[in-house]
Structures are given as C-alpha cells and as structure tokens.
Symmetry: C2
C-alpha cells in the first residue's frame, strides 16, 4: 500500500494520456539557489544538499524519502524542515498532500510546463501525475470569481487505477 512507485502521465487536450518526463532539474537547482541568495540568505550546506536531492525528483517526495536519499550526507531533521519552509515560502517547491498523513514536496515548475496534479490508487497506493489545461482554466476562472487570491492549488483524484481495476 506504500506509494513508492511513480508514473507520470501527461493528458492531451483531446485524446488519452501518455508518459512524459520533464527535464528542468538542473536549471531549477540553480534558480532556487539564486532566488534564496537574492532573498538575502547565507549559504548553507544542509539546504544545498536538500536542493540537490529535490532537483533530481520530478514528483512528490516525503521527508523520510529525502533523509534516505541524503544517505551519506548527514542532515539534521530540523534543517530539512527549515529548508522546506523557506523553499515553500519562496514558491520554489509545492506541497502535496495525498492524505496518508505524510507531507510531500516537489519542485515548482520554472515555466508552467511541468505543472501537474495527482491521482492516488486506493488499493495499490500508486501515485500517478497528470496535467490538464482545461482543469487549470476552470480553476483560474473560479479563483477570479471568488475574489480569493490563490497562490497555490491542489487537485487530488482518488480511486482505482487501471491496473487495479480488474
């Protein structure tokens, strides 16, 4: 039931869905460090290591995941959470909450290309990413109508994935 597998599905405007992989990993790390510097922060080994780790994953990573990924390099819990708070405050990462009580984070996209949301399978726990221009349009229109200045939005679908349907 652990959501440890990751597929990435891109939904075409009209037809079905197909896999894709984004590739702005390295630019993101640089942009993140630059934004942090410009925000007036000093360098820090822990935060830098975390940025390195996060730049290598396109989707939903929990803090336990990060601590494991850091492996050799010892980074204290507090530093991880502090770095995440900073990155999130600067909109460099997005928080993803799939409802298992564990917060996950993923790189925020530099150029809207990589913006996506998630489906979670109730049975096998697989986490599937998708993106849909129509959905985004509906959300933006809605946000305007509400007079709520939404800096972030999250959409999660829950149900049975194609594999578990049988």
């Amino acid at each position: 039931m652990e959501p440890n597998q990751h597929l990435h599905i891109h939904v075409e405007q009209d037809s079905g869905a197909h896999s894709h992989t984004s590739a702005d990993a390295l630019p993101w790390a640089d942009a993140a460090r630059e934004t942090i510097r410009r925000a007036g922060h000093s360098k820090g080994a822990a935060r830098d290591a975390l940025i390195e780790i996060m730049s290598q994953r396109d989707c939903a990573m929990s803090v336990p995941d990060m601590e494991q990924a850091l492996g050799e390099r010892p980074v204290g819990r507090a530093s991880v959470y502090r770095a995440l708070e900073l990155l999130h405050g600067l909109h460099l990462i997005t928080r993803v909450d799939i409802g298992d009580g564990v917060a996950r984070y993923e790189r925020a996209q530099l150029d809207d290309d990589d913006h996506h949301h998630h489906m979670v399978c109730d049975r096998c726990g697989v986490l599937i990413a998708f993106d849909d221009p129509e959905l985004e349009a509906a959300i933006h229109k809605l946000s305007d109508r509400l007079g709520f200045e939404a800096t972030e939005h999250e959409v999660t679908l829950r149900g049975a994935c194609p594999d578990c349907r049988n």
Copy 2:
C-alpha cells in the same frame, strides 16, 4: 492561525458568490445508519454518537473537534477512528486534507447539492467552502479521459482571503 472559523460560499455559474447553508443533516444520519446496517454491521453506541455529531456539521471536522463535540459522552479514540474508517469506506463521509497535518472529515452529500471544495487562507487560516459546476465538469471529463475510476476528488486553493488581502 487555527482554522476554526467556517464560512460557506456558493459560487453561481456566472456571477459572484453568496452564503448558503445546506439542510440534509437529519436525512444523512438516517441514511448512514441504514447503509451501515445493510453492510452487515451491528449497532454500536460509539459509532452512533459519532454519526450524530457529524450530521450536525456541514464542513471539515477534525478528530479532536469530534472528541470535544462529544464532550459528555465518552467515546474512545480507537472507536472514533474505526467509525471514520467505516464511514469513509462506505462513502458516507469525505476526507478533507487542508495541509496542517490533521485529517478532517465531513458528511458526503446525499444528492450532490452540497458537494463542495475548500480554500484555506495562508495568513488567518480561515477555511472557506465553495462549489463550482464548471470545475466539477472539468474534473469528470478529465477522469474519463484518464481511464482512472475516481470515486473521490479533492480540490484545495491556498492564498489570501478577501479579509487578509489588505
């Protein structure tokens, strides 16, 4: 910063938003008990008390909230969580995750009239409910296209509410 206030905003198809209150509280409690009975479960005082409590709230309630609302009637933690698991499994309640590490639940609507999603203000923590037919349409179309049988979906907007905008 505690999300303890609740507004409920209904978004019209075209114009702005106005308050509304739903009123299928009592029918819901009856329907819930009936569904549980038909699913082959025995009666239980704890679960019954919880259904009573939940039938009186239209929106997002945390377990600590429930325990407080139960007040006099002593219901064990384990029973509360077990009841929630059962109710959720039978789609009688919906899980709402606003990202503060505390799961919330609310009655599932008998008749789609009360279906809604949430906005959370980053600053004051207020939780605002809204519903939007266009958004729902986009989600249903999307779900079909993905071949993902979504039994549940969650949309959360984060940002500054009208009051905090200033």
